[in-house]
Amino acid sequence: MIKKIQRILIELANIHRFVMRFYREVFMPPYEFKEIIRQCYEVGWKSLPLISLTGFITGVVFTNQSRPSLAEFGATSWLPALISIAIIRALAPLVTALIASGKVGSQIGAELGSMRVTEQIDAMEVSGTNPFKFLVVSRVLATTITIPILSFYTAGVGLIGAFLSVNQRENTSFTVYFDQVFEAVTYLDIFSLVLKAVVFGFTIGIVGCYQGYHSSKGTEGVGRAANWAVVMSMFLIFIEEILIVQIIQAMRA
């Protein structure tokens, strides 16, 4: 039992050191701009098809599920406002982050993990290159920059999906629908989306990199790194969601 607690404390200290090293290295030259752009492409562009499909389905399903409740009060005209608040405040960043942690987090964990066990990270180190800056800083920056952009995109696609459903059932026009959507959204809602997406993006990147960078025990270790990257980042995303909602609620009041 004591050994288990000791192991957990050591792990927490290692994570703390890893995050602090990121903050130290991110501002120090040389900057790996080319690699950051390449990673943004890997994280952002290559996730688009999956994010598009998921965002669209989320919009359609949420609208169809919300309609009966509002219909009971004869308030289906409130659907666009309800949908926009739900998607922009909560669903867009959360859905994007969960999809990205599954796709991108596992990819980062597995990639760095296999580089660790095949000594590619050591090879970088002995050839006078800082592997932390090249591999970790670039990936964490890429997820932190890209997830907010993807979240806005998911919100857009989700709202279009919701519009198709609203248009079909309530005959609401495109202009009326989007007028109501934007009327209901405040700057604080947009701030909430950006804040959540930045925090989620950072979490996905840093957790994936930490698991991969410290991977060991051959191919088994690589699998474990990829697996833990997803599990840990999803868990942390939900914890962060709760905390950020409390902060935003306090700001709203």
């Binding site: 040389p30 296999s114 580089m115 095949t118 000594e119 590619q120 050591d122 090879a123 970088m124 180190e125 002995v126 050839s127 006078g128 290159t129 800082n130």
Partner: protein, 257 residues
């Protein structure tokens, strides 16, 4: 005659390891090891698998830290250097990994360019291309320049791994099991390449191996790691002129069975 064909300067030590110990948990891998590498020398470290041979060169290159003892490389104490100073020192040390450690996601050209563009930022595109082609030519693999590592054979990967370390013109080469997992013909080619590298680039080398043919072919001097310490030292024939039961099976397996 030197195996490497070069000149050994016995007055200049490029690596000095003194009383170095290293443990991993309860496993004591190195127990007070001493080692000296002279300028221009090819030193072979022989030993069974798991005896800490690779650990030794990882300690020398600063990838691991010793529990006790000192390691001096080119006049600098490795364990006292800052991260930046260590990075500078590493430019003078070439490390050829057992599994080549080529970057899977990059072509051969990109693998070779990688250390160059990060450490010699003043070079033009033309100069970088020239350097890459020059070292690839030196290892006889210029035609593979645009191939991915997955398209190469084991022997080719080893050669590219060596070329990648040579591109920074190191003064010291550390070879970790250069012939492991290769067929006899390729082993002979790699041994020849190690000697050619020493001759052409005037490097001093430590070659970690348990392949006696390799040791005999490239080693100017051989040390044998037994139970965490260097117990035997000398030229190939001196090393195996013994009744030590820990040493004899090594020779018998390689040359009799």
């Amino acid at each position: 005659m030197l195996k490497s064909g070069g000149h050994i300067d016995r007055d200049t030590e490029v690596i000095t390891v003194q009383n170095v110990s290293k443990s991993f948990g309860d496993l004591h891998v190195l127990r007070g090891v001493d080692l000296h590498l002279f300028k221009g020398e090819n030193l072979v470290v022989l030993g069974r698998s798991g005896t800490g041979k690779s650990v030794l060169i990882k300690l020398i290159s600063g990838l691991l830290k010793p529990d006790s003892g000192t390691i001096e490389v080119l006049g600098k104490h490795v364990d006292e250097l800052s991260e930046k100073e260590l990075q500078q020192l590493r430019l003078k040390i070439g490390f050829s990994f057992q599994n080549s450690a080529l970057y899977d996601s990059m072509t051969v050209r990109e693998n070779l360019e990688f250390p160059l563009v990060r450490n010699k930022r003043h070079l033009s595109r033309g100069e970088i291309n020239h350097e890459v082609e020059d070292v690839l030519d030196a290892v006889g693999l210029l035609p593979t320049i645009n191939q991915m590592p997955s398209e190469l054979s084991g022997g080719q990967r080893k050669r590219i791994g060596i070329a990648r370390t040579l591109i920074l013109r190191p003064e010291i080469m550390l070879y970790d099991e250069p012939t492991a997992g290769l067929d006899p013909i390729t082993c002979i080619e790699i041994n020849g390449l190690i000697n050619e590298v020493q001759e052409k680039y005037k490097t001093s080398s430590i070659i970690i191996t348990h392949d006696l043919a390799c040791a005999k072919s490239v080693g100017d001097r051989i040390v044998m790691l037994l139970d965490g310490k260097f117990e035997r030292e000398g030229e190939f024939d001196q090393i195996f002129d013994t009744d030590d039961e820990r040493v004899k099976p090594f020779y018998d397996y390689n040359f009799i069975t």
